[in-house]
């Protein structure tokens, strides 16, 4: 009968099978919490970015958008990536604290909470992407098979968000003010990601500095494919790959190291 010992190492497939049902139920819960089971809740997640887009379009077109072709799509690309990043990392940050009552009583893998929050943010991103492509049609953008490549930055972005969410969720357990500080970071990031302006007029050095910002890098990928119809260079693809690897490694390291210590702080 002694088939399971206290901390037995099992394969990743076994683990996934074991926790699949649990994960599904967590995802369901996060969806219900998010949309509060109303149609309006679902519609709001599309309406809200549209309203942001409208306001930006009205205000910035005169000042900043004159020399940028397809400025609406230019703005929209920036908005959807930024708002996905914002929502996903913010939710990720709260994934541990909001489930503290569960994992301090029942022995479950804590990363499931983080992943489940990311799934609901990703689905929301998918919804806004549909609207995005509808606008591409309205704005006379030519649809090409190249657009399928957008899956690549989307996956990179997803994993980057998981990594950053892991780091933030751990920090939020240890420090209460993490959420305020992160809001400041997000506001800065919003201005530093060239969402409504173009970096072309900036100095070369400054333009390079933008490439340290994952949000900007993925926004640019979207724009290059959709507006310019060009496939980015292999080097750029490598750069896209750097962020998920980097942030996920840090996040996993932190979870491994502090996995048993979260309990003391909750």
């Amino acid at each position: 009968m002694s088939k399971t010992t206290a901390r037995k190492k099992t394969g990743i497939v076994d683990t996934m099978k074991k926790y699949q049902f649990m994960f599904e139920e967590l995802v369901k819960r996060d969806f219900k919490q998010r949309y509060k089971r109303s149609i309006l809740g679902m519609a709001w997640s599309i309406l809200s970015p549209l309203m942001t887009l409208l306001v930006m379009r009205v205000i910035f077109t005169e000042f900043l958008g004159k020399d940028i072709p397809h400025y609406t799509i230019y703005l929209f690309s920036g908005n959807i990536v930024m708002s996905y990043f914002r929502e996903s990392t913010r939710n990720g940050m709260r994934s541990l604290t909001s489930n503290a009552k569960i994992f301090t009583k029942i022995n479950v893998p804590k990363y499931l909470f983080l992943l489940s929050k990311n799934v609901s943010a990703l689905v929301n991103f998918g919804l806004t992407l549909i609207v995005y492509f509808a606008f591409c049609g309205i704005d006379h953008i030519r649809f090409t098979p190249k657009m399928f490549l957008l899956v690549y930055p989307s996956i990179c972005l997803l994993i980057t968000c998981i990594g950053i969410g892991a780091i933030l969720s751990a920090m939020y357990v240890f420090f209460e003010d993490t959420s305020y500080l992160y809001d400041v970071v997000l506001t800065l990031l919003n201005y530093m990601s060239a969402i409504f302006y173009s970096v072309d007029s900036l100095s070369k050095n400054l333009q390079t500095a933008f490439l340290f910002n994952p949000v900007y890098v993925y926004i640019k990928y979207f724009r290059v494919i959709v507006i310019d119809g060009i496939i980015p260079s292999p080097a750029y693809h490598l750069l896209c790959l750097f962020f998920p690897v980097f942030y996920l490694s840090i996040g996993m390291f932190i979870y491994k190291k502090y996995n048993t210590q979260f309990l003391y702080y909750l």
Binding site: A6, R29, K32, F103, K105, I106, F175
Partner: protein, 291 residues
Amino acid sequence: MSNETAIKCEHVSIRYITGDFKSIGLKEYVIRRLTGNYHVKEFWADKDVTFTLNKGDMLGIIGSNGAGKSTLLKAVTGIMVPTGGKITVHGNIAALLELGSGFDGDMTVRENTYLRGALLGYTRKFLDEKYDEIIRFAELEDFQDYMFKQLSSGMKSRLAFSIACLVHPDILILDEVLSVGDGAFRKKSGAKMQEIIHGGVTAILVSHVMPQVRELCTKILWLDHGKQICFTDDVQHTCDAYEEFLARGKKAKVPRKQEQIDAYAEAYQKRLADQEAKKEKEKETGMYQTV
């Protein structure tokens, strides 16, 4: 009962970190680190606890509040990792700790049942089969589609208990949850618990209800402020000593040696005998008066 080991706890110590780090925040933390003004206090919730349980044993853990009972249970379930020592567990564990928390108020009873079941490690198939049974046992047939927050607290704990008691574990851990709810349900849940316990599981029970401990347990572990006073299968004797220790209040000296435990137990028996005699006497005088 076989002599197979179910749980082996060797010199287990668990350290908590306390201090004001929870509330100071990142900015304050950085400043305090820089000025060298950052202090954390250590606190040993359990210190050098050793015991072994064989299959079918029923262990009672006794001790006053803050003795480290719940912490020890968390270490056994794997929620916590001991700072020192080693715990080996053979078989799968189910823990019923403070049942009521961790539900989602904005989800229905049905949804919460599935979520909790999933968290406890049940499969979907199992829950599909047992769902009606759970609801019937919790007596919530008419409330299945109510929001969880609309339930009364009694209903909440009834549901929590009904979901949790479906487990068929090799090892069962009970933290003061032998019975919940109002009179009728308390009886039912108590009976259900007995049924599980007598099903041959190895169990650990934390309880402040001494008659319960005396009745159910085959071994006993006495903790005081994280230190192990004794671990023995002499349940009645140790319970005697513990009750005497409690009766003497705060000033009572914590027993360190077996002789001191024996002394406490003896005093308890003596007190019991005195009370008995007193009652007898009262009865006699009473009878005398009525006559």
